[in-house]
């Protein structure tokens, strides 16, 4: 056909014909789900190397799965972080609050109060427990699914909701898509919509901290799908070259919108194993085991703080809900996956652990869930006083032109004047 070559036999008559491999997930809508192919390791069975070990020593842990909480709801083995009950209850409360927050914000979007929302249901431990293992002034470079970090660091819910509603109370002046938070005061870097850009930035921040003999480290989060971006690989190279005090948290929730992790390479190896080739430490943890997540993050933080280098942590977890409010996962994956996920639910597992050690009860859990829902509801009410998206209570027009540069150049002055002119034509007062 014209300039296009027709399909033709392979070059050379006796050479075998090549064929292209295109990954395919195990299950599609309607398929019965059997996750028995996922190797679930025995809690407590994984060795915990010295935090300052050679990176290569972590090799076996990049294909294993660090687990602490067992089916008996007890903590096992060398990775048990041995947290006191008060800390465990805090962890549980933060995770429950994240879940209650997600529920309500999702509903708010459905009710038209904002344009967009993203839940992290099932992945709460990967941000909450990880953040709790860091110092509060360690700099975090999150992706969009780490609301748990802000909540663990005590960022006011009402500020989060103001941002989600893009209202006049929004500290980011209504400029960013909902959930793209930023809080310098909480050492929480401004979130980008462009995937994986935060990773080399985290390395740069960590390098700066090392240049200045600071003691703070950097930690970044990224979805497994996004590790395909160049930025991930540039970040790993820089981190290895400069032995930067940085942690890369790869949240492997199995799905990147409709693409399963195989499209980021999981059919061949684990995401933690990426570390091996770069010569940096790697750990693969049960991301639904809050104690294992805490322990791994703490290990990596101690390693970084001791100038022993960067770590990749793969948090093996499951995205229990849709990618965002714009997504309908029933179009591309089996609904049974969520029920069949072999690593359970992080909130439930921590709750059962606390009950098993005699530090919690179902009644307390119920009361806490109720309190979380009330807390979110109250914050929502407060935030709504500042307006919801599209209902007039936004930041003034001239704010649109601020912060493009430190100072307003002449052309933005002119454009700001035009915007205000247009407002007066549209709404003459």
């Amino acid at each position: 056909m014209g300039s296009s070559p027709p399909p033709r036999p392979p070059h050379g008559s006796n050479k075998p014909a090549l064929s292209l491999h295109v990954p395919e997930p195990h299950f599609r809508p309607g398929d019965p789900v059997d996750f028995s192919f996922i190797e679930v390791s025995k809690p407590g069975a994984q060795p915990r190397p010295d935090e300052a070990c050679e990176a290569a020593e972590t090799g076996p842990l990049t294909t294993d799965l660090v687990r602490v909480l067992g089916d008996d709801n007890q903590a096992h083995g060398p990775w048990d972080p041995k947290l006191d009950p008060e800390t465990l209850r805090d962890m549980l409360r933060h995770m429950a609050l994240v879940r209650a927050f997600d529920e309500r914000m999702y509903r708010g979007q459905r009710q038209g109060k904002t344009s967009f929302y993203m839940k992290c249901t099932g992945e709460e431990a990967t941000s909450v427990a990880a953040a709790m293992a860091l110092a509060s002034d360690d700099m975090v470079f999150p992706s969009y699914r780490q609301q748990g970090i802000l909540i663990a660091r005590g960022y006011p819910l009402v500020e989060m909701i103001n941002q989600i509603y893009s209202n006049r109370g929004d500290k980011l002046k209504g400029r960013q898509l909902p959930i793209m938070y930023s809080s310098r005061a909480h050492s929480f870097f401004t979130i980008s919509g462009n995937l994986a850009t935060q990773l080399p930035q985290a390395v740069g921040w960590a390098m700066a901290s090392a240049i200045r003999h600071d003691s703070r480290i950097a930690a970044a989060w990224v979805g497994e799908g996004s590790t395909a971006e160049n930025d991930f690989h540039a970040a790993c190279t820089f981190a290895a070259v400069y032995n930067a005090p940085v942690i890369f948290n790869v949240v492997n929730n199995q799905w990147a919108i409709s693409s399963f992790s195989g499209f980021a390479g999981s059919e061949r190896t684990t995401f933690a194993a990426r570390a091996v080739g770069y010569g940096i430490a790697g750990l693969r943890v049960d991301g639904n085991d809050p104690l294992a997540v805490y322990a791994a993050e703490q290990w990596a933080a101690n390693r970084a703080r001791a100038n022993a280098g960067p770590t990749i942590i793969e948090h093996f977890t499951y995205r229990a809900e849709g990618h965002s409010t714009s997504d309908d996962p029933s179009q591309y994956r089996s609904a049974q996956e969520r029920e069949e996920w072999p690593l359970g639910d992080p909130v439930d597992r921590l709750k059962k652990h606390l009950i098993a050690i005699g530090e919690w009860s179902e009644e307390q859990q119920e009361a806490m869930d109720l309190a979380c829902a009330e807390q979110v509801k109250a914050a929502t009410k407060d935030a709504e006083k500042n307006g919801i998206l599209g209902h007039g209570l936004h930041h003034p027009f001239h704010t649109m032109f601020e912060d493009v540069f430190e100072e307003l150049p002449w052309h933005l002055e002119e454009q700001a004047a035009q915007a205000i002119r247009e407002r007066k034509i549209k709404w003459p007062e």
């Binding site: 014209g2 893009s166 454009q415 407002r423």
Partner: protein
Amino acid sequence: MARMSADLTEDDIPVSQLEASSRRMNMIEAINDALDIMLSHDPSVIVMGEDVGYFGGVFRATAGLQAKYGKTRVFDTPISECGIIGAAVGMGAYGLRPVPEIQFADYIYPGIDQLISEAARLRYRSAGEFIAPLTVRSPFGGGIFGGQTHSQSPEAIFTHVAGLKTVIPATPRDAKGLLIAAIEDNDPVIFFEPKRIYNGPFSGYYDKPVEPWKNHPDSEVPEGYYRIPLGKARVARSGDAMTILTYGTMVHVAQAVCQAKGVDAEILDLRTLVPLDVEAVENSVQKTGKCLVVHEATRTSGFGAELAALVQERCFYHLEAPVERVTGFDTPYPHSLEWAYFPGPVRIGDAIDKLLEA
């Protein structure tokens, strides 16, 4: 070289033939139809991108195509725009005709080195030994409350690059015919799809109900194969009061404003920015004597600057007033103030008044 086969190259289909076998489509359906036809006509056509395979794309533009043509013709890719475009360049070098999708134009930047340094220059640097016959499809533009990373109009970045063609359809009928022509073109084409008009011809009056495509004459899309040649503009509205040069979503906004104000402007839908139909531009401006350029993209170094320069170079002695530009502001696309940012009816109306008074 640019045409596939003789029986399929009628650039201008007689209107009677169009009406004989056509179907109402929205823009997504028209794009899907074009891809379907090209996949079936040409075994070297490959469709790939993030979420385009089984799922059929986040805007559903590739829905059903993997089931129909199989996983080695239509497939998902890793989330790496550099990889997507680089691989498409390599496939093109082999002799395939890839149609990669970049999920949002805002996410094309990681692939930009492969586009600018590679795809755009392969033919030149190899003296024609290697070509990059790819068509990079990508939804662009705002008006959907997508914030700064789902709203950009980066076309001028690409029109500035020697060796890239840039195409922007404004109707379902054009989307299909232009996409087919782009895929058959042997040079790399950036094909930006105005996402705000995927489902209806947005008028810019955002507080009015959304019109579906089915009420618009250009949603009547011919069945089967046809091409609309690259480099040919379309008169979206003929008139004498002034010439409005525009493309994409803004064609519809400009039309609505002219109608609301009762202005007899000639609206030229450019359809292809590079190569530009400069003859159509000249003819219209020389007729009307006034020129307004409208685009949603930011103003400074936008494509409007190129248009204004061309018009003054070629039509200076016909001009009765300076060329006016209506554009997005030179800020990132804001979320809550989307409609204050968008170059809507008020901004366009203002510029029209200024030209009318001149």
